[in-house]
Point group: C2
Chain length 167, copies 2
């Protein structure tokens, strides 16, 4: 690590990940040539990324549409605070609920849900309403993915932040 870093990743990590974005097939050896660092360094960095938990599961790379779930919706859930545990288990049991955040406000949850179609979404919504502790839901269907999940902007900023080796 070149500088005392409040983050877990530094410039080289970012450049490695960006290079892997361009070509996920490239080997550690190819990366070292591209980035101008030693192969051992790339190897050590990748190993550390895995160990530190900076990289999450492989399935995170999935496109839900490829699984047949082309519909994305965001549900606001009003819950009773005393039933938080029950709500957590209930949501966990529904595979279509792929992400949940507890947000500011009066015990509100924000859930990201995928579905095959609107009928499927209706079924899932009812399933959620049956969970003990859920008081109200409000659904916002994504009609267009304005911007697919991305990290390259943040990575590019980080990659350029520190000194770069000559290319």
């Amino acid at each position: 690590m070149t500088i005392p870093n409040p983050r877990n990743l530094d410039s080289l990590d970012a450049r490695i990940i960006l290079a892997l974005d361009k070509d996920p097939e490239s080997s550690a050896l190819a990366l070292s040539r591209t980035l101008g660092v030693a192969r051992n360094t790339v190897h050590a960095r990748l190993a550390r990324l895995e160990r530190s938990g900076a990289l999450s599961s492989f399935s995170r790379r999935l496109d839900p549409a490829a699984l047949g779930y082309g519909l994305i919706a965001f549900l606001s859930l009003a819950i009773s605070q005393t039933r938080a545990g029950s709500v957590e288990n209930g949501l966990e049991a529904i595979p279509e609920v792929i992400e949940v955040h507890a947000t500011t406000g009066d015990a509100d949850l924000m859930a990201k849900v995928v579905a095959r179609d609107t009928a499927d979404l209706y079924r899932i919504t009812n399933q959620i309403l049956e969970i003990e502790g859920i008081q109200r839901t409000s659904t916002a269907i994504s009609v267009l993915e304005f911007m697919p999940p991305r990290f390259d902007g943040l990575l590019n900023r980080l990659a350029k932040q520190e000194s770069r080796p000559p290319e």
Copy 2:
């Protein structure tokens, strides 16, 4: 492909991805042994997953917290429909905006934003408000990641859907 499939992925694809989730280090040869299919098949499937776009960028596996962005917020943006292009470009230019959906309702956007801290989020929010076409914003800060993004539930369902080879 065993069956005519409305989806892009079938049971074997799902099982390959699940196995890679358990052990991202496992090779195609190890996967073939684990899953009971030929090594060439695993190789062909992985190649197709990459080509078909079912797997998105490598950076999707990133944990934003590792980049120093520990704060997650969801912004509801009310926009004027006539300025949709301007809004798109404006949001694109802000790296902290990592995901945007156009939702049902009166020309509303839902944006997922990361920030270093609340002050950073305040700065970003102001930056968004300066975009031509943005009328109002409403911010919901994630105080707890109730359920981190996951796909294993959907994958497991898909993996069990069709006939499995004896193990």
